[in-house]
Symmetry: none
Subunit: 194 residues, 4 copies
DNA sequence: GATGAATGAGTTTTCATTCAT
DNA sequence: TATGAATGAAAACTCATTCAT
């Protein structure tokens, strides 16, 4: 593996900076409402320089969401230890998922926004949702088989957990009662257990 | 009460048409990506006419979401008959809420999108969420008092129900298992009732 | 002479109102910067109505300066009684000229402004200047013949008197020392009379 | 001191060209009646380039009158040698003032015109008038003290001299009798010296 | 006489992109 | 690598004018 020259290093750093600046602005104002000039100004460079690093504005957008992709992180947080109880696992998942959205809030908001007119972004977001529901559902299925959970629509439970966390963030609700969320998911709210 | 002349009638109709056309295009492409020219062309009128009806593009956006406001409908669907069981009521709410989003999908998507950079839209959306959670939570509280439900975090339950329905629509998931949603909400998924 | 019907009367009044409103706005903002819409709004009528009274915006401008023409008034104020001394006459002329500009300040400013690109206005203004200088010069000539004044460039004296009054108004200088103006014009400022 | 690259040089030259072109057109047609497109066309460049150099049309106007400001030149022409007679000085002032207006006729007309709706321009023009009257008046005061001139309203004399020159230019009168102007100013026109 | 909806050409301004330096 | 002058197309918005009612 060859050591990179300082020129190359600097170029990489600058590229990343530009992507981060673009993310921040795209997220706040929306992709269409953000101009190349603004991004260049925020970074303190000339407009032309952006075109050295990215062939076009839309490619810059792509670079943004490719760099910060959720998927690996989502996969990591869904890799649960099978020795623990479902209660424990579900709570960890809820908390980690919530924390991940917090950490990547800009990208999250950007993608939710742009997914509505950019089908590539839409597909990407859709894949994330599918993967989350499938992985969490599959885990729940194993707990049903072990007799810890009743047979039930596990995909729906996954939707409920992830969906509740998601809307909490989208709506910027400050209170995040993930402990109670798991309790209610497990035991329901009826006074008359069937 | 004075009868309106046909000129005035026609003007009102045209105004509404323009708002509807704007909604459709704003929703598909986003507010910023939609030009006044496009809206005028879709309606078959001159660009200048839009400025006869609306002082600016942003006022046209406001007209869009003021005309189709969710709130009245949301309030209506949350007016539940107290004679029925919670299971019945929750299911009706889920179904009606889902149907409402379907019916107003364009506006819904537009507002979710624009709320991220337009604080007025954000406030409006926030108010809707708050009202939904509060009203549904208050209903659940009455069922707790009647002994039909266990004492629990009713606001969270409301979030779970509405949030699950919401994300289902946002993610365009086609399967809408509202019957099971209510069952799981009421009875949980644990094999070991506490 | 036939009495005018009240409809006709009203129409004449409205026309004059419109001309006055147009004068006020043209004068404040300039002809180009004033829109027909603005004039109609200031008068509280529909845009279309202006086109019943005036065939075009430029005709409205013409109506403005034809209605308020300086010339008759200028001629009147230069009709001096020949029995009086030049000192007396010159002072009256200065004062009346100054008062006339005050009274017609809007039109005066409008014409100075528009004369620079509208040759018709320029010609009109030029004619006024010429007529003023000629008439006042001719009067001075009679006083030279009577031996009250020395033979001199009477047209220049007219320019000096009228020009000083004019620039005073154009520059909005508040102090108007017309008495001293005439004294200096007559006797000069040199300590060594030749 | 760093030498400027030829690119920078060229940019500066172009900027000045644009200002000059704008001055010519604004002056002929008026600010409002001159479009950015026209200026760009006259210069043979794209419309957008104007916005590279000036943030808005109104800033271009400001650039025009800041670049060609009268004041320094006016101050220079009023710096008179005190060894000379008042007759000599006043004539030089009249001639130089007249020549200055000729040289800067475009700007002069533009400012007179726009001062009527642009208060910044009005203030600037007012300051010039004030400065001229004050400086020339102060000079006359020194000649009164030396006994060359009678005590009199020196500010008024300044107004008379400058005002007569000014109106001559504004009215485009071709004959400019500055020699006689000074003579009459000094000795008056009365046949009966007091 | 009076309205105001409708138009089409115009305005100022912005923007993504290119390219000589 | 980095600059910013230059472009052309398109944006939002305005306006004088027309005309059916």
């Amino acid at each position: 593996m060859q050591a990179k020259s300082s020129r190359q290093q600097q170029a990489i750093v600058r590229r990343e900076h530009l992507v981060d600046t673009a993310l921040a602005l795209f997220s706040q104002q929306g992709y269409d409402a953000t101009s190349i000039k603004q991004i260049a100004a925020a970074e303190g460079v000339a407009v032309g320089l952006l075109y050295h690093y990215f062939p076009s504005k839309s490619e810059l957008l792509r670079a943004v969401w490719e760099r910060h992709s959720f998927l690996p992180e989502l996969r990591a947080l869904l890799l649960v230890e099978h020795g623990e109880t479902a209660a424990c696992v579900l709570q960890k998942v809820a908390e980690r998922f919530s924390a991940m959205i917090d950490r990547k809030e800009s990208l999250f908001r950007l993608m939710v926004r742009e997914s509505q007119s950019n089908s590539e972004v839409a597909d990407c977001l859709h894949a994330i949702v599918e993967e989350g529901i499938t992985a969490l559902g599959a885990y729940l299925e194993t707990r049903v088989e072990l007799g810890e959970l009743r047979p039930h629509n596990t995909a729906l439970t996954a939707r409920m957990l992830l969906g509740t966390v998601l809307t909490t963030h989208l709506a910027r609700l400050p209170i995040r009662p993930w402990v109670e969320l798991v309790t209610q998911l497990l035991h329901g709210i009826s006074a008359h257990p069937n």
